[in-house]
């Protein structure tokens, strides 16, 4: 079991009723998919807000960053860097800075 740190946007923190960075227990290989699976299992109200309910694709105005690299277009099940898997670095889920 890996302990992974995740940062989610302000509006999703409000929706989930949490503050600050989240800590998740992730089993198996640590990938964007497995982190999101753990996140949605712990906070079911976030289902559908980061990835589409049916296609499981990333919502267009959200991006994933790990260790200062953009992981948004990487395969969702590609293992994240060790620094994220070990909890040294967080996985960042960031909303596009656009719109009003």
């Amino acid at each position: 079991m890996n302990v992974v740190r995740v940062e989610i946007p302000h509006h999703l923190r409000t929706l989930a009723g949490v503050r600050g960075e989240l800590t998740l227990d992730v089993s198996g290989a640590v990938s964007v998919k497995s982190v999101l699976d753990a996140l949605e299992a712990q906070y079911p109200m976030l289902q559908g807000t980061i990835r589409d309910h049916c296609t499981l694709e990333r919502r267009a105005f959200l991006r994933f960053f790990a260790c200062e690299e953009d992981w948004s277009h990487e395969p969702m099940d590609k293992p994240l860097p060790d620094a994220v898997a070990t909890g040294e670095q967080p996985l960042l889920i960031i909303g596009a800075i656009a719109g009003g």
Binding site: P9, H11, L12, T14, L15, M45, Q47, G48, T49, I50, D52, H53, C54, R59, F61, L62, G95, A96, G99
Partner: protein, 371 residues
């Protein structure tokens, strides 16, 4: 002591406005869900403390909320709206096929008999139903799979199912409206649907009298006379006296018959209200004067209601779900504007006053009459 609760959905959150039956002094609660678009909120007629809300965002998609204490606290419920079977295609703006894609919930219509049952009209146009208080949603796919579905096209605001009306005298009958497909009726609880657009004339579509393709903006009904419907179409105010089988124009002496909102007086089924808007390219009141028009004759003969409303330099819009009436003895009429005002008339439209002036753009207004 009677009381009213106004539910205002705005571009940046939800607001709950409460007053006693005099409707003079108001308490404002909100914003709830600050920063999110609240397309619609509506309370259950069975349990007025149960309120459903549609919360959405271009970033995070659709969230559904439910309150069991009249809007004081909220709980997220199910937000999975999956089209049944193959989604198929409708027409895009340029006439090419475009896949059906869920975007948001435009309208919520709680059941008249069961607080756990609620209908959701969504974009791209479809009707969903929940029987467990919003936790799970099932499409009533007979509507979308109606033979004309591939020919439906979006209006400027998207291909939205924005109006859901339940017949209080017939559990199996419902009316819905879609921009820009038109109006439809089911007589079997949502299994099958028929277009009810005969009599509509829309000169901006290839066949102005087509079976579907009309940009219906809103429909209103009085519960005591469910066979009589009033419609604000893109242009034209219409009425039907046979549950939508045929429509006749009742725009009469309106200065412009473009608009979005329409509603019926709570106790006078022939008294109706509209807010005329200048045109489809200029979404603001004619001459910068905000006027509600009232007809006491079911249409055709209209009078401007102006007392308390701005009569110069007013360039707001009143959207389709942003007008409502209460059920107090002296019927109250309410509407919200894209300028952030929510107005009330406690005397059926004679006099108006703002409840609030500076909310975000108002997307919807509903009112609950509480005892």
């Amino acid at each position: 002591m009677s009381k009213v609760r106004v539910l205002a959905g705005t571009k940046k959150g939800a607001f709950v406005l409460t007053s006693d039956g005099k409707r003079e002094r108001w308490e404002v609660s909100g914003p709830h869900f600050a920063g999110w678009e609240i397309y619609h909120m509506k309370g259950s007629p069975v349990n007025p403390e149960r309120i459903y809300a549609s919360q959405s965002s271009g970033w995070f998609g659709q969230v559904m909320q439910r309150s069991d204490d009249g809007g004081k606290t909220w709980e997220p419920v199910g937000n999975k709206f999956a089209y049944e079977g193959e989604a198929g295609t409708h027409q895009w703006y340029d006439g090419t096929p475009h896949p059906w894609e869920f975007k948001r919930v435009w309208h919520l219509e709680p059941s008249l008999t069961d607080a756990e049952t609620v209908y959701a009209g969504v974009e791209d146009a479809a009707l969903f139903k929940s029987t467990d208080g919003g936790q799970n949603w099932t499409e009533l796919s007979g509507l979308r799979k109606h033979g004309t579905g591939p020919n439906w096209q979006p209006g400027a605001g998207g291909m939205c199912l924005h109006t859901v009306i339940l017949d209080p005298k017939d559990d199996n009958r419902m009316f819905i409206a879609i921009s820009a497909a038109g109006a439809f009726r089911t007589d079997d609880g949502g299994e099958t649907w028929k277009p009810i657009n005969k009599g509509l004339y829309s000169q901006y579509i290839p066949d102005p009298r087509a079976e579907v393709g009309h940009c219906v903006h809103h429909i209103a009904m009085h519960g005591e006379r469910p066979g009589v419907l009033f419609m604000q179409k893109h242009w034209d105010v219409m009425r039907s006296d046979n549950a939508g089988d045929n429509w006749t124009e009742v725009s009469g002496n309106l200065p412009t018959d473009f608009g979005f909102a329409i509603d019926v007086h709570a106790h006078e089924p022939e008294t109706i209200y509209v807010v005329p808007i200048k045109s489809d390219s200029e979404h603001f009141p004619l001459d910068g004067a905000l006027r509600v028009y009232r007809s006491k004759t079911g249409g055709n003969e209209w009078e401007a209601m102006t007392k308390g409303l701005p009569q110069k330099d007013c360039y707001v819009n009143v959207l389709r779900d942003a007008m409502a009436v209460d059920k107090l003895d002296e019927c109250g009429v309410y509407f919200g504007t894209t300028g952030g005002q929510v107005y009330v008339s406690a005397d059926a439209g004679e006099n108006w006053a703002p409840i609030v002036r500076d909310l975000p753009a108002v997307l919807s207004v509903e009112v609950q009459t509480l005892s």
